[in-house]
Amino acid sequence: MRMTMQYYRANTVMHRMDALTKFLWIILLGVLGFTISDPLMLAALVLALVFVTFGLGRLPAGMVLRMGFYFFPLSLAAGFFQMVIRSHGTTVLAHLGPLAVTSGGLQFGAVFGLRIMLIAFASLIFVWTTDPRDLIVSIIYLRVPYRIAYAVFVALRFVPLLENEAAVIREAQSVRGVEQVHGRIESLKRYVLPLLLSAIRKSENTAVAMDSRAFGAFPTRTYIKEFRWTASGIIFLMTFAAAGAILIYAAALRGNLYER
C-alpha cells in the first residue's frame, strides 16, 4: 500500500468543518465504542458513519470501498481473537479445530470488532475530509510551536519525493547486478542506507532553503488561513454526543455497559 495522502479534495459540509471538532468527534466515538458493549448499538453507530461518509462528505464509493478492503480484515481479526479468548462459560455453539466458539465469545468478538471498525472508520472520514494545511494550522492553534508543527508539512512533502527515490534505488541496485540479497542486514544496508543518505542530504538542502526564507526568525508568524471553529462542526459534534448519551442510557438499561 503506497504511502500517499488520502485527503480527497472537495467542498462539502464535512470538508468545511474545522479539523479540531472532527478530531474531537473521533475521540467521542472511541469513548462510545469502549463504553457500549452492545453489538447492535455499535452497528447503528457504524451505519451513522456510512451516512456521514456519503451523505455529508459525498465521498466516492470506489475510494471508500478500496480503503475498506484494508480496514475490514483488521477489525475482523481483532474480533476473532477476542472471541477465542473470551469463551467464559456460555453455551458452546461450534468447534473450530481446537478453539471453542461460544455465544458469549461470539457476542464479545462482534463488539470488539465493531469497536475497532468505529475508530478506524471515523479516522478515515477525518483523513478524507481534512486538508493537511488546515490540520497543521489547528495544531499551531493548540500552542504547539510552529517550527515543530511545520515539520509535518515537510514530512508530507517528502513522502512522494522519497517514494520515487526508493523506487529508483531499487532499479539502480538491480541494474548494478546486485543480487536480491536475502540476508536481513545486507538487504537493509543495500537499500535503506542509500535512501537515508539521500534523505539526510535533501533535508540539509531543505533546511538551508527554509532558513534563507527566514524560517524560525521570529517566535510567531502570520498565516493566510488561520484556524477558526466552525458552527457546523459544533452542531455535528453535539448531535453525535446526544445520540451517544441516549445509546449509553439504553445500553445501561440492557445491562451490557462498559464490559471490558
Partner: protein, 560 residues
C-alpha cells in the same frame, strides 16, 4: 572551499559566474545570504551585502536582501501547496496576510504561474517547480538574486522561458547566475566572474575576459563558453581571421562571419564509424507502455539498434526517453509489443541476466552507489564478476585517471560534489565493458571539462580497448550539443512516439520537426543556417566549433 576572494558588484549589475565542478560556486552563494557562517562553515575577511555586514545580521534579514535559487530544485521546495510555498517567506517575516496574498499573486504572475496557487508542488513538472522556487524567493522582495544552475535539467523550451524570465528580472534586481548553458546568457550579462578551485581566476566585462582568456577557460579550467566565441578563438588562432567585435551571441557572429568565404564541402575531422554487425543487438517491436498510475508513456514504438552504433534518444521532458531506455535493461517490460536483446525477449529475462551486458547510468548518479569508497565503487562490478585483484587494481586506477577522479579514491561517494558523482557513476559502468551502455542525461549539471573529458575518455576507451570497441552507446538527452558532437544517429521521441529516426545531420535539416518537439538547434547550426541565408557558402552539417573553423578558407595562404 573559497580562498581570498575579493570583488565588488554594484546595484543592477548582471554577473555571470563560471567555474568547473567543485570550483566553489554553490559555496559562494551560501556566503551571500549568511548561511555561511551562521548555519554552516566559517569565514574570514569582510563580506557586505546590500549595505549589511553579513557576519552581523541574521539569515532572516539577509534573506530579504539576497534571494537564492538552489541547485537542487526538488529539495528547496518544502511545502505541499504552491501558495504555501510562495507565501512561506513573507509569513515567516510576519507580514500581514493581506499583503502576503498580494505578494503571492504578484510573484506567480511574474513567473507565469497565475492560477496555480492550489496545485500540489509535487505534481508539477521540473520547469514549473523551478518557477515556483523563483516565485517563492521573489515574494521576499530581495534586491539581489543568486541562481545556481537553474536550467540544469530543463528541456530547451523551459530553458528559453527561464532565460526570458531572467532577462525581465534584471530590470530591478542585481543578479549573479551560474549556468553551464552560457550560449544565451553571455550576450546579456555585463560581467564575468570565473572561479577555479575556490580562487577568483578572472573578473571583468564578459567580452574582455572571453577575448583574452577564452582559451585558458576552455582548455585549462574546463568551462563552457559560447560556441560562437569558441569559433572566433579558433579562427583567430588557426586562420588569422579577426572579427572587429569579439562575438558573444549568434547575431554578433552572423554580422562578423557573413563576408568570410567558406570551403564547399565540410572538412569533417572524424570519419563516421562503419557499422559492422548485421544482427541488431536491440530490437524494439511495436512497444507500448503504461505506468501503474495509468500514464501512457510509450505508444507503438519500433526501432533496431546494431552493435557498435552511437545513437542519441532525444525529445522534450516527459516524451518517454527514460521509459524506453529502461526497457533495454529489463527494468520495465512492455505492456504491448516486445523488446529483444540479442534475440532474447526481455519478458523472459531478469535485470540480473541483462545487468552484465547492458550498462545503465542513471540521471541521478548517487542512487547507483553500493560501496563506501570511490575505489571500491569502481571495482564493484569487476569483483562480482570474479576478476583477480591485481587486474582489478590496474583497471580501476586507469579508470580513475580517465574520469578525473584522482585524489578522491578514499572519499565516500556521497561526499563528492554533483559533477564528481556523475563521473564516478559512468566510470563504474564502463569498467565492466558492457555490450551496450545507456547514459541517461549524462550532461545533467556538468561543466564543459567534465562532459568533454567524460565523453572523450569514453570514446578513447572505445577506440583503444579491443573489448570495448564494439560497445553500443545510447545517449538519452535534450542537450543537442552532445547529440551533434557524439551521436551518428538520432531517435526523436514525442509524446511516447518515434517522431524521427535517422542520421543526426539529417535531423538538423528538418526545422519544423525540431520546432514541434521543442528541440533547439545546436548554436553552431543556427549560425551556419543564418550565414547561408546571407548567401555564404557554408556547409550544412557543421555542428562542432572545430568543424566550423576547419571549413573557413584562410585569408592568407597559411594553413594549419
Amino acid at each position: 572551499m573559497l580562498q581570498d576572494l575579493s570583488f565588488e558588484v554594484s546595484r543592477g549589475e548582471f554577473v555571470l559566474v563560471l567555474g568547473a565542478s567543485g570550483a566553489g560556486k554553490s559555496t559562494l552563494g551560501l556566503c551571500l545570504n549568511g548561511i555561511v557562517p551562521h548555519v554552516q562553515g566559517a569565514t574570514e575577511g569582510e563580506l557586505i551585502v546590500a549595505a549589511h555586514r553579513v557576519r552581523e545580521w541574521p539569515v532572516s534579514t539577509l534573506g530579504s536582501k539576497v534571494g537564492i535559487i538552489f541547485q537542487d530544485v526538488e529539495s528547496q521546495l518544502c511545502m505541499l501547496y504552491v501558495r504555501d510555498e510562495v507565501a512561506f517567506g513573507p509569513e515567516n517575516l510576519r507580514i500581514p496576510s493581506a499583503e502576503v496574498e498580494q505578494r503571492v499573486s504578484d510573484a506567480l504572475q511574474f513567473v507565469g504561474l497565475q492560477g496555480y496557487e492550489n496545485k500540489f508542488v509535487f505534481e508539477l513538472s521540473g520547469g514549473q517547480k523551478q518557477k515556483v522556487a523563483i516565485a517563492s524567493v521573489l515574494a521576499m522582495r530581495p534586491e539581489i538574486l543568486f541562481l545556481d544552475e537553474p536550467t540544469a535539467n530543463l528541456d530547451p523550451r523551459s530553458t528559453n522561458e527561464l532565460v526570458d524570465l531572467i532577462g525581465r528580472l534584471r530590470r530591478d534586481h542585481t543578479i549573479l547566475i551560474f549556468e553551464n548553458k552560457v550560449d544565451q546568457l553571455a550576450g546579456i550579462a555585463d560581467r564575468l566572474l570565473v572561479l577555479d578551485g575556490g580562487r577568483l581566476a578572472f573578473d571583468g566585462p564578459v567580452r574582455e575576459v572571453l577575448e583574452e582568456h577564452g582559451d585558458t577557460l576552455v582548455n585549462e579550467l574546463g568551462v563552457w563558453i559560447p560556441q560562437v566565441s569558441e569559433v572566433e578563438l579558433g579562427l583567430r588562432r588557426r586562420k588569422h581571421v579577426r572579427s572587429a567585435v569579439f562575438p558573444l551571441s549568434l547575431n554578433e557572429a552572423v554580422e562578423q562571419y557573413a563576408p568570410l568565404n567558406f570551403r564547399g564541402e565540410p572538412a569533417r575531422t572524424s570519419a563516421p564509424r562503419p557499422v559492422i554487425a548485421l544482427k541488431p543487438t536491440i530490437e524494439v517491436d511495436r512497444v507500448g507502455f503504461r505506468y501503474d498510475d495509468g500514464t501512457v508513456a510509450l505508444r507503438d514504438v519500433s526501432f533496431n539498434i546494431r552493435q557498435g552504433e552511437k545513437v542519441a534518444i532525444v525529445g522534450p521532458n516527459g516524451s518517454g526517453k527514460t521509459t524506453i531506455s529502461k526497457h533495454f535493461t529489463g527494468l520495465l517490460k512492455p505492456t504491448s509489443g516486445r523488446v529483444l536483446i540479442d534475440g532474447a525477449d526481455t519478458h523472459k529475462l531478469s535485470t540480473r541476466d541483462l545487468a552484465r551486458r547492458i550498462g545503465f547510468v542513471f540521471q541521478n548518479p548517487e542512487h547507483q552507489f553500493v560501496r563506501d569508497s570511490v575505489r571500491d565503487e569502481v571495482a564493484f562490478s569487476l569483483r562480482i564478476g570474479g576478476m583477480d585483484e591485481a587486474e582489478i587494481a590496474r583497471r580501476v586506477d586507469h579508470e580513475i585517471e580517465i574520469f578525473n577522479l584522482k585524489g578522491l579514491e578514499d572519499r565516500h561517494p556521497f561526499s563528492l560534489s554533483g559533477g564528481e558523482r556523475r563521473r564516478l557513476s559512468v566510470a563504474t559502468m564502463i569498467i565492466a565493458h558492457p555490450e551496450v551502455l545507456v547514459l541517461d542525461e549524462p550532461t545533467y549539471g556538468q561543466d564543459k571539462s567534465n562532459t568533454v573529458r567524460m565523453m572523450d575518455s569514453l570514446f578513447k576507451a572505445l577506440a583503444e580497448d579491443e573489448a570495448v570497441q564494439e560497445i553500443t552507446l545510447i545517449l538519452v538527452t535534450h542537450d543537442m550539443k552532445l547529440v551533434a558532437g557524439y551521436a551518428e544517429r538520432a531517435i526523436v521521441m514525442r509524446q511516447g512516439r518515434v517522431a524521427f529516426d535517422g542520421p543526426t545531420s539529417q535531423l538538423f535539416l528538418d526545422p519544423d520537426l525540431l520546432r514541434d518537439t521543442n528541440l533547439e538547434y545546436p548554436p553552431l547550426f543556427e549560425l551556419s543556417r543564418a550565414l547561408r541565408d546571407r548567401g555564404a557558402m557554408v556547409p550544412a552539417s557543421l555542428l562542432r566549433p572545430e568543424d566550423f573553423v576547419a571549413s573557413v578558407r584562410a585569408l592568407q595562404a597559411i594553413e594549419p
